[in-house]
Amino acid sequence: MSLELKNISLAVEGHPHIYQTNLKLEKATMNVLLGPTLSGKTTLMRIMAGLEKPSSGQIIWNGEDITNRRLQDRDVAMVYQQFINYPTLSVYENIASPLRVMNKNKHEIEISVKNAAELLKIGSYLDRKPTELSGGQQQRCALARALVKGAGLVLLDEPLANLDYKLREELREEIPKIFERSGAIFVYATTEPEEALLLGGNTAALFEGRIRQFGKTSQAYRNPKDIITADVFSNPPMNFLKFSKIYENITFEGGVSLTKIDHLSNLPDGDYVAGFRPNHLDLTRKRADQIKFSVRINVTEITGSETFIHIDYTGKKWIGLVQGVHNLEPAAEISVYLDPAHIYIFLEDGNLEISASYATKVK
């Protein structure tokens, strides 16, 4: 089983929505489409489902061209952000509905419905109407209906976006388990990097109608190919600053300069952009080779276990995420420290030149 998008593109009334895209999804994989609103996640899913015909290119399913095949004849199930169930049918009938269309016999239906309901923990609500359930249970019902169909391709379009934070956390933990049992190709759209990471599998980072990078989720997170992927894949957003290198000397924008960083010695002289994630900034020096920046505090936000510090470095706005509770007064001048191993180096056109050296050590 595999799904391949070959040179797919879509333009509506001359406006490109999806630029030429190639993507191959293998059997039994979880694939996350990660990107901000309007980056083309939903459109790409609609093309995969057959709700939208691409302007060019082919969709290949198990080696067969299905570009022009009707939605009804495709092996697809879909779950949306809104909780979509048949309001007049019981939960049981809701889950059973795709099986009834397939003319399965009564016994078979009962077994599949009960299994799916157990898996999604709504086994005791089968006689209720969807409107009598909480939001989380309604979405579980919709997920069960998609699963029971046994489709080869399951599309989930921000299925947790309308749920409470804690319910999201629960379902996020369950979805990978459910997926492992089904063996289908899962495609999951989200705007949140944490969600992509928790789901695991592969991630395609989307931005303005283009897939910027596709690969193993943790790999793409730690080895982004360009600035846009790095930024899409960072929450809080990645911090950036420019620097230039002449011989062994590296001078950061704002005046901090260094000589000799081991893994950068092969970098050709020139102007670059350095990027690093907020969690890699430290408030105290942890290693001798850390780079020191003098910054001004804008705001601090405390979550209880961690502190987000919003800082200003020579006019650039950065965010730092540090362990523990730190009450820092606004406008205070402090120093923050950064390990060079955590710096990604991008060319001025946005492409990655050197990945952060720590990334290869994470297993």
Binding site: V12, R46, L51, E52, K53, R70, L71
Partner: protein, 291 residues
């Protein structure tokens, strides 16, 4: 929402196309055929070109009917739209028994067949047996829609307002109901006046449905036939002879098929043109909201 493109859909609409061809396109072609020919009987037709069109466009009788028609439609719109909005604004906001009752009462006039509406008002206004006419006559108001042109106009306008204002109310009400509560709450917090709430919240949010209501009321009132025909028959004199009544007189009363055909085509084009203009305005407003 973008629509799915699938060429097979065209086969599905084929039966409808055939039906429309028989019910609309072929009769329309017959009318076109008549409009460019003349006959002296015996089914001998000969080509006259655009002569009938020129005649109709220059005809004083048609000009008069058009003038009456435009006046009538303008009055109808000027009364029904504000009145409809006014009633919709004063309907119960929460769904429940009272709002359902209002909706049913309002829907009633819309459910009555047009010729029945005509008949009701024809009888209602009669001075010998009609409740309205008799009462007015008895309290000393000289009212007679069969003889006085103004009375006839007033009767027909009141009848139309009674019949159709509900449509505007229902559409506006639907528009009002779609406004989230938070807008009203924010307005309260901002201490907005009732007028400001109407002007800056309710009217902008109703704009879409209101345009549809105006379009529907324009088309319907511009083509009005049955009700005035039943009540006044176009009289007294020609006082309430609107375009469609005049057209029927010409076509069936005088059997001037050629001019009547040209007349109906011009009539058709006028309505099409105005509706198209409306549609364009509506679409451009929709786009503005999308951004």
């Amino acid at each position: 929402m973008k629509k799915t493109r699938n060429q097979k859909a065209w086969f599905m609409v084929l039966p409808v196309l055939i039906l429309v061809a028989f019910s609309a396109i072929i009769p329309l072609m017959t009318v076109v055929n008549y409009s460019v020919q003349d006959t002296f009987g015996n089914n001998n037709f000969f080509w006259v070109g655009l002569e009938w069109f020129e005649e109709i466009l220059a005809s004083e009788r048609v000009h008069d009917a058009l003038g009456r028609q435009v006046t009538f439609t303008a009055i109808i719109l000027a009364i029904e739209v504000p009145l409809g909005i006014f009633i919709a604004l004063h309907m119960p906001k929460k769904s429940g028994f009272w709002s359902s009752l209002c909706l049913v009462l309002l829907a009633l006039p819309l459910l009555i067949p047009w010729n029945v509406v005509g008949t009701i008002w024809q009888i209602f206004g009669r001075i010998d047996i009609g409740l309205l006419g008799y009462t007015l006559d008895k309290i000393g108001i000289n009212y007679n829609y069969t003889q006085n042109a103004l009375d006839a106009w007033i009767t027909i306008i009141i009848m139309d307002v009674w019949h159709w204002t509900s449509l505007v109310v229902l559409l506006s009400y639907a528009g009002l109901r779609s406004i989230p509560d938070s807008y009203y709450q924010a307005a309260k917090i901002d201490q907005a006046s009732g007028w400001a709430v109407f002007r800056h919240i309710e009217l902008p949010k109703m704009k879409g449905v209101l345009l549809i209501a105006i379009l529907l009321r324009f088309m319907d009132s511009f083509m009005i036939y049955t009700e005035p025909f039943v009540v006044t028959g176009g009289g007294p004199g020609n006082a309430t002879t609107f375009l469609s009544i005049d057209l029927v007189k010409m076509a069936i009363g005088q059997f001037d098929l050629g001019p009547a055909a040209a007349f109906s085509l011009i009539y058709f084009l006028v309505i099409l043109l105005v509706s198209w203009a409306f549609y364009t305005v509506m679409m451009s407003m929709d786009k503005e909201n999308d951004i």
